[in-house]
Symmetry: C2
Subunit: 326 residues, 2 copies
């Protein structure tokens, strides 16, 4: 009998599911939409049916699945397997998701923060391979984070560790959605990057992005990077500030847990080397002189599969841990 | 036969040594001076003799000592037991201190960063008792740090984790001795607190500290807090900035590893509640609104013994770990 592991990425609009062998090779994957009206029972049923169908399509039996992992947004009590709230699913309040799916499938289930799951995926099979200490930043609408120290994910006392986007970079600076001022997220998320560009144009800055704003009524971070490639000066200034915030964020995380590798993921990394190199420049410009730092600042390599890979890897880890104890 | 553990705090001018029972009760302690000319062999011999004498004075036999721990300043390769450099002892270059003392005493020895050793002491027996996740800040000439997450010290990939004083709070701000600008240490160490006061007076600020500066030629952080108690406005401003930097530092460390307790130690805590309360005020003022934080910001309770207690506790832990394996 083969040993299979299932990785589930519970998003606001979709549930992504992957089926993996014991070497964590992705055998097949699927995606199924969720909607805001669904209650926990309906979501669990949908998840379970999708898992059953996926395993069958891959030519295996459900009994060959050893364990499943779920990556989910918070706030949650991950260690207890409970979703406290789900922004996109109002019917989710204190849902014991781990137990519900475990009982429905008759399998061992692990629940993890979505950014942590993706971080663990990159650590095991992606940009973090070969190191014991890593930091992970997802540059999306917001900035999520993950930290691995001594080969373990940092959870924090209340399951809210590694909220790296909310490290304050510029005290008294831009207001962040979290209520703080000057967070990394208020400068360097995709949403903030776009917003800073729009604000500058509205304040009178000259830029080729002006036409985009007038035509579409908004600017995206993708627009900023496209116009940067086209030589637009405002796009360069906006990108520089994004990179400075991220360079200082790297320094601050370095002085906390000293990761060997700092990995950026999320939609913004489509900007490519022009962004990555500026982050490295600012890191080098601001970092101390007490010792020569040889940490690596790089992009994630697993793309959108990082979440399901990480969730499956955590499931495998839990399964093997439990097997070792019995 | 009783089981004893020895804790050693290797400082720039003194070696402090404590002898502990298996419950980590301090049985007796001693201190012996070092001088800059001493080479590694002389320091190890001095350390070993002091241990032997201390154990004898306490009425025990050396064979009752199970293990010893050393807390030492870096840079060092703690995991390998090697001191790379010792600022105050120029003859220390790549010294395998752990092995040397282990061979001389015939005992198991562990080498740890001095701030980490003190952090571990507070964690086991002091202000960190009862939590699994803690951050530790020593407010001395500089600012040292320690982080415990999931009950383990964070070392970082290159043994330079938890350099919390060098987290950047004000980018482009005051120059720090490390070469960065705007580090917490550049505002909130004892030396920086005193220096900011002196600079303000030299720039023309009115203050009762002016007389101190004129009379003694310098100001200490102790002077600042004494004059704060006396109602001096400049002392209040200086203390406020110290507290703001430390409050933001607490937030940034919270968003990294989410400690339940943030513990301040070092000479500066003699300032008392007036400082502690301002740090808490700034933490509350700047912290996010996404959730109500219930972390505790407090002072260390073990005083100068934290280092020897932590070193002995680490020795005990290593001994028990090795015993468990055999």
């Amino acid at each position: 009998m083969v040993e299979l592991f299932v990785g589930i990425d519970l998003g606001g609009t979709n549930i992504k599911i992957g089926c993996f062998d014991s070497e964590l090779n992705l055998l097949c994957k699927t995606s199924t939409p969720t909607d805001a009206d669904m209650g926990p029972e309906a979501v669990v049923e949908k998840m379970a049916e999708a898992v059953e169908q996926l395993v069958a399509e891959a030519g295996f039996e459900l009994q060959e699945v050893c364990a499943a992992g779920i990556g989910s947004p918070g706030p949650a009590r991950y260690s207890k397997g409970i979703i406290v709230n789900a922004t996109n699913m109002p019917k989710f309040k204190n849902v014991p998701l781990r137990q519900m799916l475990s009982e429905r499938l008759g399998k061992l289930v692990v629940l993890e923060n979505d950014a942590n799951a993706a971080c663990w995926g990159e650590y095991v099979l992606g940009a973090g391979k070969g190191v014991e200490d890593m930091a992970f930043f997802t540059l999306g609408t917001g900035i999520g984070g993950g930290i691995i120290t001594n080969g373990e994910l940092v959870h924090g006392w209340d399951d809210n560790g590694a909220e790296l986007g909310h490290i304050i970079i510029y005290p008294g600076g831009r207001k962040c959605g979290c209520g703080q001022r000057g967070c990394a997220e208020a400068y360097a998320s995709a949403a903030s990057t776009a917003k800073r560009a729009a604000e500058a144009i509205e304040a009178g800055a000259e830029s080729s992005l002006k036409e985009v704003l007038e035509k579409k009524g908004k600017i995206t971070s993708k627009d900023v990077y496209e116009h940067l490639a086209g030589g637009d000066e405002l796009a360069r200034e906006i990108t520089d500030k994004t990179a400075e915030a991220l360079g200082i964020l790297c320094i601050n995380v370095l002085h906390a847990t000293e990761p060997k590798r700092l990995v950026f993921a999320g939609g913004m990394i489509a900007a490519g080397d022009v962004l990555l190199n500026r982050i490295r420049d600012y890191f080098d410009e601001h970092i101390w002189a007490l010792k020569k730092e040889t940490v690596e600042i790089c992009f994630a390599t697993l793309g959108e599969d990082a979440g399901i890979i990480g969730a499956a890897a955590l499931a495998k880890r839990l399964y093997e841990h439990n097997k070792g104890k019995s």
